[in-house]
């Protein structure tokens, strides 16, 4: 509180500490204004807005500078829809504060900013006021329906507009629509619980409604939402009457008066009752959950499952395709590996074969070189050489052999043909002429000697050897057992006959021809030539092969007849041609 004269802050004394002015009465005015402000604040708190307006106006009458009272008054005006009055108070409050010596924070500024800065709010307020004024004009001109429409529109935009609601209630009362009027008046009571006009109208409506209680149920008269015990006593007789019948439905049916509680809800425990909307909410939640669970979820689950199954099927197909590709590639790989291994093996085999053949040829070539430079006839081990070489059949020795082998054989044959013939011929002859000849040995030696006989240049002992060989064949056959005659020596008579006939045919004038003829007679007498089937073929072969030998032998005998020297066959010519004829002779002798 400040001094009205000098503006100094006052103390508890009744005079100004600065200028000494008497401030006692001033203080009383200020205190009264504050007291009225407090009362107005209290009434505004319980929504007795009409009472608050009166108190706050009184407070401003005492002290117009009471900014709190002025701001609160503007706020109350704004609450009941009197926006222009509210703005007026706030503007005055703002200006008074600005002109003060001690400026302080003023709520009016914030109120004005909120209202004036919101364009939509200002437009709504302006339109509501215009419609209300228009509705009032319609009421003056008995155009109540249009007035009601306008008022309903105003209320829909600005529900706190008390005057518009009251006017609408008046119009409804005029139209005797008591229930709607009561409804509107109840809403007015919620805005301003102690408004005189509202209470008067409501009393009228309730009286009217009470008069029409025969055949109509009474409506529940609800107290305002913010009603307290303190203000309940100020509602008046109409409100008290409504409270007495609150929560009760009373009507007549035929001759009976039925009274039942409103709502029909279950009585609560110790006065506590669960509101009906809670039950509805719970039931709604349960119904919604059930609908989702039974209607929505199965389809969604099915769709999700089908999508998953489709994806699984697609992936399985891809896996199968890839597996097939893998298998085919693996089989191809295996085939390629086996082919490669086979080719490698073949190649290695060929390489080994080639290498072995190369080694053999190299060895043969080396041996050939040695044979070429060595004089085998003067070798100390000629017997061993001839023994080894005797195992080779000149007629078939080179069959299937390589060129190097053939070359070596030819070289050896050339070197050893004469020693071979000489050795085995004289071995056979000497054995035949011994005291106790072994005719089998004679046969063996003379057969070998005949193999190496040069058909183009027969040796001197050729005819003699034929006689000895034929005779040996006969003698071996005759000395053999029956089993051997049918087995190993089955063709010996045939061979003997062949040799002997060669002599008698080709060398008839030799000294051995007569002996051969006598032996042939013995064979014809003692031998069984008809059962020997092989002897016929061997006979033809022997005859065929014996002819060139016989021609050669005849030429040889004509040139060197009577020569019995144990010489070697010096007149050997054509080492390669001789083995062919000798092979044929050996084949005839061997068979």
């Amino acid at each position: 509180m400040y001094c009205y004269k000098c503006g100094c802050e006052l103390t508890d004394s009744d005079t100004c500490p600065n200028c000494g002015a008497d401030v006692r009465q001033y203080k009383q005015i200020i205190y009264t204004s504050n007291y009225l402000y407090n009362q107005g604040l209290e009434k505004a708190g319980v929504r007795d807005l009409s009472g608050a307006i009166l108190c706050l106006k009184q407070a401003l009458v005492y002290n117009k500078d009471n900014l709190d009272a002025r701001n609160l008054l503007g706020l109350v005006y704004f609450e009941i829809g009197e926006t222009v009055a509210a703005i007026s108070e706030w503007v005055i409050s703002k200006n008074l504060n600005d002109s003060r010596l001690h400026i302080r924070h003023n709520l009016a500024e914030s109120y004005l900013n909120q209202v004036q800065n919101d364009r939509q709010v200002m437009e709504n307020i302006s339109s509501s006021i215009q419609r209300y004024n228009h509705a009032l004009e319609c009421c003056y001109s008995d155009n109540l329906d249009v007035a009601m429409l306008q008022l309903r529109k105003v209320i829909s935009v600005n529900p706190h507009y008390l005057r518009a609601r009251q006017l609408l209630s008046l119009l409804l009362i005029e139209q005797q629509d008591w229930r709607k009027a009561e409804r509107e008046l109840q809403k007015c009571l919620r805005l301003d619980i102690n408004n005189t006009d509202t209470l008067r109208y409501l009393k009228e409506v309730e009286q009217r409604l009470q008069q029409s209680q025969e055949g109509e149920p009474l409506r529940k008269r609800t107290a305002p939402a913010k009603e307290t015990k303190k203000s309940s006593g100020k509602r008046g007789s109409a409100g008290a009457k409504a409270q007495q019948q609150a929560g009760v439905i009373k009507y007549k049916a035929d001759n009976e008066t039925i009274i039942q509680p409103v709502g029909g809800g279950m009585p609560g425990i110790d006065g506590f009752r669960i509101p009906g909307w809670v039950y509805g909410l719970v039931i709604g939640v349960i119904a919604g959950a059930a609908a989702v669970a039974f209607l929505v979820m199965p389809s969604r689950v099915q769709s999700v499952r089908s999508a998953a199954a489709e994806q699984v099927r697609t992936l399985s197909e891809q896996v199968g395709t890839q597996q097939d590709q893998i298998d085919s590639l693996q089989s191809q790989l295996g085939t390629a590996a086996s082919t490669e291994s086979t080719e490698a093996t073949t190649e290695s085999t060929e390489e080994s074969t080639e290498s072995a053949a190369d080694v053999q040829d190299a060895l043969l070539a080396s041996a050939n070189q040695w044979v070429a430079v060595t004089d085998l006839s003067d070798s100390a081990d000629t017997k061993a050489l001839t023994d080894s070489f005797s195992a080779l059949d000149p007629s078939t020795a080179k069959d299937g052999q390589s060129t190097a082998f053939g070359t070596l054989y030819d070289s050896l044959y050339a070197k050893l043909q004469s020693p071979m013939l000489e050795r085995f011929a004289w071995d056979g002859i000497n054995e035949y002429e011994s005291d106790k000849p072994d005719y089998e040995t004679v046969v063996t030696d003379l057969e070998i000697a005949n193999r190496f006989e040069d058909t183009n240049n027969l040796s001197m002992t050729y005819v003699e050897r034929l006689w000895y060989l034929g005779d040996s064949y006969y003698r071996v056959y005759m000395a053999a057992s029956d089993e051997d005659k049918a087995g190993a020596y089955a063709d010996y008579l045939t061979r003997a006959r062949t040799c002997l006939e060669t002599v008698t045919t080709n060398y008839a004038d030799s000294e051995y021809a007569s002996k051969c003829e006598s032996r042939l007679l013995d064979i014809a007498t003692n031998a069984n030539l008809t059962t020997d089937s092989s002897s016929a073929a061997s006979t033809a072969a022997a005859a065929g092969s014996a002819s060139p030998a016989s021609s050669a032998a005849s030429s040889a005998s004509s040139t060197s007849q009577g020569s019995s020297t144990a010489g070697s066959s010096q007149t050997q010519t054509g080492g390669t041609a001789a083995p062919a004829a000798a092979a044929n002779a050996d084949a005839a002798a061997g068979q």
């Binding site: 400040y2 001094c3 009205y4 004269k5 503006g7 009465q25 001033y26 005015i29 200020i30 009264t32 204004s33 401003l60 009458v61 005492y62 002290n63 117009k64 500078d65 009197e82 926006t83 222009v84 009055a85 703005i87 007026s88 503007v91 005055i92 200002m122 307020i125 302006s126 006021i129 215009q130 209300y132 004024n133 009032l136 009421c139 003056y140 005057r163 009251q166 006017l167 008046l170 009362i173 005029e174 006009d197 008067r200 109208y201 009228e204």
Partner: protein, 56 residues
Amino acid sequence: MINFDEELRKFHPSLEVEDVEDAIYNQDMQDMVDVMLRVTKEGMSGAEGSPAKEKN
């Protein structure tokens, strides 16, 4: 019994937003403090013959 016409007369048109300025200017801003000061001043002027107006 509510008389509609009589009650209707109690309803006056609301001031529009554009009329705020006029409403403010037309307000009577004199309060008890002003009255007290005026009385004091008249009393002093009557007693001394040279009143000095001081307003808070």
